[in-house]
Subunit: 263 residues, 2 copies
Amino acid sequence: MIGVFDSGLGGLTVVKEILNKLPQYKIVYFGDTARAPYGTKSAETVKRYAIENTKFLLEKGAKIIVVACHTASSVSIPYLKEKFPDIPFFEVVTPSFKKALKLTKNKKVGLIGTRTTVESGIYNRLFAEANPGIKLYANPAPLLVPLIEEGWLKKPETRRIVKKYLIPLKMRGIDTLILGCTHYPLIKKIIQEKAGKRIKLVDPSEEIAFEIKEYIEKNPDFAKNLQPDGEPEIFVSDITPNFEKIAQLFLGRKINLKKVNLE
Amino acid sequence: MIGVFDSGLGGLTVVKEILNKLPQYKIVYFGDTARAPYGTKSAETVKRYAIENTKFLLEKGAKIIVVACHTASSVSIPYLKEKFPDIPFFEVVTPSFKKALKLTKNKKVGLIGTRTTVESGIYNRLFAEANPGIKLYANPAPLLVPLIEEGWLKKPETRRIVKKYLIPLKMRGIDTLILGCTHYPLIKKIIQEKAGKRIKLVDPSEEIAFEIKEYIEKNPDFAKNLQPDGEPEIFVSDITPNFEKIAQLFLGRKINLKKVNLE
């Protein structure tokens, strides 16, 4: 099975893309809704949660792990690889970085994400290594997650706040913008509208699905380990009626959530 | 010691009021910042967290427990009393209810709070038992916590969103409004402005401090158990630079946070 985890339900945007591109494999998902969000928490705490979530998915039969959370991808990948050396890990940062590297013409790239993602400095390091000529301008956008989870996807308040977060990036003249959080694809239209037509958006959920597909095609022996087809199994650490609504919003269809206690 | 817990740092508004009214006793505080917020989580999960937090404070020497979180107060008090029958518990719901009962003239009371607090129906039950003639109009205001934690205390976006949450309550003609979350006192001025002069606000942090003072004065033997004076000890389950900033905002002065792991 393909194991996917996120702090909450935002990672279902990634599941949706994987289902589109790799419908022949079964997915097991874990959303840590009892401890969400991760984006306001310290790197140390997020690392601990990422290790617990990975253990759970491996116990459920996952053969590869997709970290469908920008915050966890930004701070926990080296620790996960050290702790689970035989498991292939996929994360949302590297494919987004590669796509932005390809897209930018004027070498000015913008990034919005949670505070922990932005403060991790991971994108700065990746761009600096690849091409020191590229300037990265990052702005934490911590209110977008709660606005999206409230379902305020088209409200004027959301538009105003998106605009506010983008102003400093637009002033820098960016031509590419990384949507550094798996929640953001849900308000991609507003972000595009407020960014303006000249700025190209990088959606991590699309990029990561491409990357997994490529890996599986290149490793046919590995693909045999993956359980074929079947409804994705969605586990969460907490259920509320609102979480069920959000899950549907992110996945684009109705789904049963199963509750588990990791602590 | 007086033990106080909250999902995060909002409960420090209650600590501030207790320090004002009972400066002679030592306070030990636990903010569950690694799992905050509680207001979006299920009653079952919040109950489990409340029991763990109480255990921690009792181990630290607390003799009374103050549940300085509206969500935990709304859903966990009966379970806490059953689990720890010898401990006096104070919570923010009952004193707010009593104050609103006293203040309302037209018998129309409003409530804003987190989704879990509003959906618990606890205020409806209390008012129905006390005076079935009183109408309670409640509106969940889930975006106020993230706005306050972002420090957007005076921003036009915060004003707009407060106004939006209050419109349905004002249309019902309420004359009293319960601030059903320990974060809200920080934007009391905006709430008063948007509610209008005719509506009286009930601030739970003031009310609970009065109630504890009264209890201690009526139980002088009990007061002997409380450790005298000293800097409050503030424990949290996660620390970030932003949490340190928020703690200072809520408590009104600089304070050292100590990290503990409850899981």
